[in-house]
Homo-oligomer: 432 residues x 2
C-alpha cells in the first residue's frame, strides 16, 4: 500500500490507509490504546480497538518509536470533535502496526521547558519539539525570502569562500586553520571583500555564507559561527540607496514570515526612522562614544517604538575610526562615515554602508590602519581595474530570527550553536 | 535623471537617458569615438560625435573605466543594424560623460584565453568576462533549482554547521582549526551527521553547505573547499527511493539551466541505467576492486552513452569496507551496501545511499571501525530516540557545473578555487 501523508487523511474517510511516523503521545486506557502519530505533514490520533490485531504491539509502543500502521480513517462522533487541532474531526482506527524503530528511555518528555544547556545537550531530541521546529521553519522562510527579494532586484547569488588567506577586515579576530604544508589559513569573518569583487562582475550580488568570529564573547547575542545575509550593489548615490534595498528586503521577509507562519509582523512605519549616531546619543543624553552600548541600543529602540511606532531604527554616521578601512567617509561630515546599523527590537541585526571605490584612496586607508597591502593584493585588483560607487550590508540570520520571534538568546535561533565551551556537546578542556 | 538599464534602451528611442556602466571596448576613429558600455542588464554601443561636449573625456576613456553618460537613443541606419547582438538596432549618442572610476593598465584584454593559473591570479578581473559570468550564472540556477525541486517534495532547508568537534566520517581528512582555549575543532567534511539529525526533526531535509577535504589531491576534479548539495529523507523502502528523488532533482536542474541559459541538456533516458559495481567491472572487463578508478568511471560512462543514450549512470552496491560506517548493508547481498554513486559524463558527481537507523547496530559499526563512540554521542542520540529507515545523497556543485558545461577542470566551475598552493593568490611556503 502507498503511504498516505497525515495532512491528506481527511480526504480518505472510510478508506484503509498506510501511515508512517513517530509516536508523539500514547494513552493506554486498558481496553483501548490511543496514540498520536506525527509525520512531516502533521499529526493524527490513532486508536487501537480491543479486538485489533495491533493490540499486542500497541501495548508495547512508547513515545518517539517509529511506526508503520494500517488503519481505517473514521469520522469522529460529534461529541469528540476537536476543532482546534489538525485532524480533530477524524481518528485512525489502527488495524495493523509495525515498529520500524524503538526509542530507548527518553531523558524527559518532548516539549517540556528545560534550561538552555539541557536543550542544547539533547538537541537531536529537543529539536523535535513543535516549538523548535517552528523556529527553524521560520528561519528557512527568512533566508528564502531574503534571496527572493534580492533576485527580484536583479542580484546574483554567489558562493562566498570560507577559507581565506588573511584576517581580511583586520578587526574581528579570525580562527586559524592548519592548511596544507604547515601554512596558516583563516576562517572568513565576513564575505565582504569577495562581494565587492562580485560587484565588479555582476554589479549586484548576494551570498548567505557561514562566517566565523573568534572573539571570546559569552553573551546572548554572539556566536562564533553564524549565517550572514550579505548583499552588495554598484552604481549607488550613497549609503541611503543600500538602506532602501535593505528596508525593502526586510519588509518582504516579515510579510512572508507572517503569511506562511502567522508570526505577527513587527511595526514598520512608512519610513524607518534614521538617526545619526550623535543624534541618537543626544536623544539618550549620553556622551559621544564611537559606538552604542547594548543598553543604548535597547533604549534608542524604545524611543523609536514610542515616537515612531517602529520596531526598527537606522543609526548612521559612525566615526571613521570605528568602521573598517574600506568604509566611505562622508565628505559633508568629515570624520564620520556613510555607514549604518539597523537595530531591531533592541539589537543591531544589520551593518552596512558605502565603500571606497577609488584604488589609491583604499590603499592609503590600508596603510593608514597599519595593515599589510600584500594581504590585499588580490582584492585590490577589483579597484585597479575599475569599480563603480557601491555599498552593501550584512544581516545576521540568527539575530534577525531571534528578534522576529522574540527569543531571548540568539542561540535559540541557531540550529547547532557553537560557543566558547560547546561544539554540539560540551568541550572538555582537559583533552585536546 | 534616473538611470536607465541597458536592456530597456530600445523602448526609449528618441529620448535622452542616463546610462551607467563599464566600458568594454573603445574604438577611436579620430572624429568619432565609439565605445561599448555594459551594465548588469547588457551592452550597448555608444558614439561620441565630433561636436559633443563629451569628446574630450571620451578621448581619455579606456576599457574597464566606469562611466556615467547622458545620451540620446537613436535607431541605427538600416545598413548598420546588427541583429546578432543585443541592442544591435540602436546606438547611444553620447552627449555628456562623467568618469566614475578609472582603471589602471590592464594585464591583458578581457576575455582572451589565458592559462588557468593566470585566470586565477587575476580573478577579480577575469571573472568579468562573458564566459566566466555565464559559468556562475549557470551555477546560480543549479543551486536555485536544486532547492526548488526539493522544496516541492516537502524537504526543509537548514543551515549545516561548518565547525565540528571531530572528523566525523573518520575517513576523509579534516582541516584542524585552532578553537578557543587551545582546543581543536575541525572543518566539516560533510553535513552527513547533521542531516540525519534533521530527518528526526523534519523527516526530509536539505542543506547546501561548504565542506572541506584536507587530502593532498592535485587533480582536475578535487577541491579542498566546495559546495555540497545534500539531502536526506526518512521512511524510505531502500536506497532506490533516494535515487528516484535524486534523478527527479537532476531532471529539474538540467531543464531549468536549459530554459534559462540555453545550455543543451545532457541525455537522460526514461530511466538512468543502474549497475552494481561488480556488473560495471564485468562490462569493463576489469578486476573486482572496491571502487572504480577515474578511467573506469569514464569508460562506464561511455558505455552508458553508447548502450543507453545516457549521460548519467548509477553504480550501486559498493563493498561495506569502502563506504562510511553508517552505510546500510544489503541483506540480500551480504558484504555489499545499499549505496550508490551517480556518474555524469565520466565523473562521479553524487554519492548516496541508505543509512543504518538502528542505534545498536550503528554503535557496533562505529566500534568495528575502531572509531571512538564518545565522538559520536551527540549524533547517536538521534538513533537512541527513534529513527525511521532513511537515506540521502550529496552532489558536488562544482563538479556538476563542470560536467554540465563540459569544463575540463572543476576549478573553472569554482568562484574562488583553493588548492594546495593557492588561496586567491599563490601561497608562499617561505612565510607562515
Amino acid at each position: 500500500m502507498e503511504r498516505t501523508l497525515i495532512n491528506a487523511l481527511s480526504a480518505s474517510v472510510g478508506n484503509t490507509v498506510l501511515v508512517q511516523g513517530f509516536v508523539s503521545v500514547r494513552r493506554d486506557q486498558g481496553k483501548l490504546v490511543f496514540f498520536d502519530i506525527r509525520d512531516r505533514s502533521g499529526s493524527v490520533q490513532g486508536v487501537v480497538l480491543p479486538k485489533s490485531a495491533a493490540m499486542e504491539a500497541a501495548k508495547e509502543v512508547r513515545p518517539e518509536w517509529v511506526v508503520s500502521v494500517e488503519g481505517k480513517v473514521n469520522k469522529r462522533p460529534e461529541k469528540n470533535i476537536n476543532e482546534k487541532v489538525q485532524n480533530g474531526d477524524i481518528e485512525l482506527e489502527i488495524l495493523a502496526l509495525t515498529v520500524l524503530s524503538k526509542a530507548k528511555e527518553l531523558p524527559f518528555e518532548l516539549g517540556v521547558e528545560t534550561n538552555l544547556d539541557t536543550y542544547f545537550d539533547y538537541m537531536p531530541y529537543t529539536l523535535r519539539s513543535e516549538r523548535a521546529k517552528r523556529v527553524f521553519k521560520v528561519q528557512e522562510t527568512i533566508i528564502a525570502s531574503f534571496r527572493e527579494a534580492l533576485k527580484k532586484e536583479q542580484f546574483t547569488e554567489f558562493q562566498a569562500p570560507v577559507l581565506v588567506g588573511a584576517d581580511a577586515e583586520g578587526g574581528a579576530a579570525a580562527f586559524p586553520v592548519e592548511y596544507y604544508y604547515d601554512q596558516k589559513a583563516y576562517l572568513a569573518t565576513s564575505p565582504q571583500l569577495y562581494k565587492q569583487v562580485m560587484v565588479g562582475v555582476y554589479e549586484r550580488a548576494f551570498a548567505t555564507p557561514k562566517v566565523f568570529r573568534a572573539e571570546k564573547h559569552s553573551t546572548s547575542r554572539h556566536l562564533p559561527e553564524y549565517t550572514s545575509l550579505d548583499f552588495e550593489m554598484g552604481f549607488i548615490k550613497d549609503h541611503t540607496d543600500v538602506m532602501r534595498v535593505l528596508e525593502h528586503m526586510v519588509r518582504h521577509v516579515v510579510a512572508e514570515v507572517g503569511a506562511v507562519h502567522g508570526v505577527e509582523a513587527p511595526r514598520i512605519p512608512a519610513a524607518i526612522p534614521v538617526l545619526k549616531l550623535r543624534e541618537a546619543q543626544k536623544i539618550l543624553n549620553v556622551s559621544e562614544e564611537p559606538d552604542l552600548e547594548p543598553e543604548h541600543e535597547r533604549a534608542i529602540c524604545e524611543w523609536a517604538k514610542k515616537e515612531h511606532d517602529s520596531d526598527f531604527v537606522f543609526i548612521t554616521h559612525y566615526p571613521v575610526s570605528k568602521r573598517p578601512f574600506y568604509t566611505y567617509e562622508d565628505e559633508n561630515d568629515p570624520g564620520y562615515t556613510k555607514s549604518f546599523d539597523l537595530l531591531f527590537r533592541g539589537l543591531e541585526v544589520t551593518t552596512g554602508g558605502q565603500r571606497i571605490h577609488d584604488h589609491d584612496l583604499l590603499l592609503e586607508r590600508i596603510h593608514g590602519r597599519g595593515l599589510k597591502a600584500e594581504n590585499f593584493s588580490f582584492y585590490l585588483q577589483t579597484f585597479k581595474y575599475g569599480m563603480p560607487p557601491h555599498g552593501g550590508s550584512a544581516t545576521g540570520l540568527e539575530r534577525f530570527t531571534a528578534r522576529l520571534l522574540e527569543l531571548a538568546n540568539v542561540k535559540e535561533a541557531t540550529l547547532f550553536p557553537r560557543d566558547l565551551n560547546r561544539i554540539d556537546s560540551l568541550l572538555s578542556t582537559d583533552e585536546s
